[in-house]
Symmetry: C2
Subunit: 117 residues, 2 copies
Amino acid sequence: MPLEIRPSQALRLWRQVHLDLVRDDEADLSARQTAILLTVYLELPPHTVRGLAQQLGVTKPVITRALDTLGKLGLLTRKRDEADRRNVVIQRTVAGALAVERLADLVTEHAKEIGGS
Amino acid sequence: MPLEIRPSQALRLWRQVHLDLVRDDEADLSARQTAILLTVYLELPPHTVRGLAQQLGVTKPVITRALDTLGKLGLLTRKRDEADRRNVVIQRTVAGALAVERLADLVTEHAKEIGGS
DNA sequence: GGATAATGATACGGGTCCGTAACGATCGGG
DNA sequence: CCCGATCGTTACGGACCCGTATCATTATCC
């Protein structure tokens, strides 16, 4: 059964969550960083720079820089792949999992507040 | 009747929409810019720099710069308030309305794809 | 009218990100 | 082995954004 949501509800939900993200701003991630973070935490490993670049439709340096920032924030980690030392495996962290969970709560909470019309 | 959405659904929805936003990137707005844009298009006018700064919990220069960028993109316009010429009224544009509508469609489309579990 | 307050814009130094191009490291096939 | 291909990273010049402090303009109030 699909999730039913009307355009006006979608916009109000989008606005409320973004308002919270801006106000809390413990993170203040860009759209690209958010897409990377959620991909790593929702899709099955392993995740590589090249794979993420293909999924997002951006160049590899973009991924490298985003990983620098997300790593600095402690939201994920990089590890060399010992099987093929050219590859780098992106791994999840506890802090990252908490941040993702917090985002999920934020969305579901505001969804509840959004009335019918 | 509230909008029912589970955390796992929320995350998948959030990821899919962000992936689309990154891939299309006709805009590539930051979280702050998105919050401003949606506030202007969802809340009743008039909108001022000071009012937006208060709602977002940020300083006025942040709003001014965001309005510069959003104005350059044609998503909204500034106009001096003739009643009180200190104020600047932020106005909607056709392009902005289309962008907001497109975002709404993006969210509702992906919501449909998101299954029950 | 002059002092005061309020509004939005600007200056500044610092940081981050962009896209293109090049780079070092590593693997694999002949 | 060695040469080409494939990783991820870094260099570069340019653009954008940040927060603080300051500015010019306009309104208000005595």
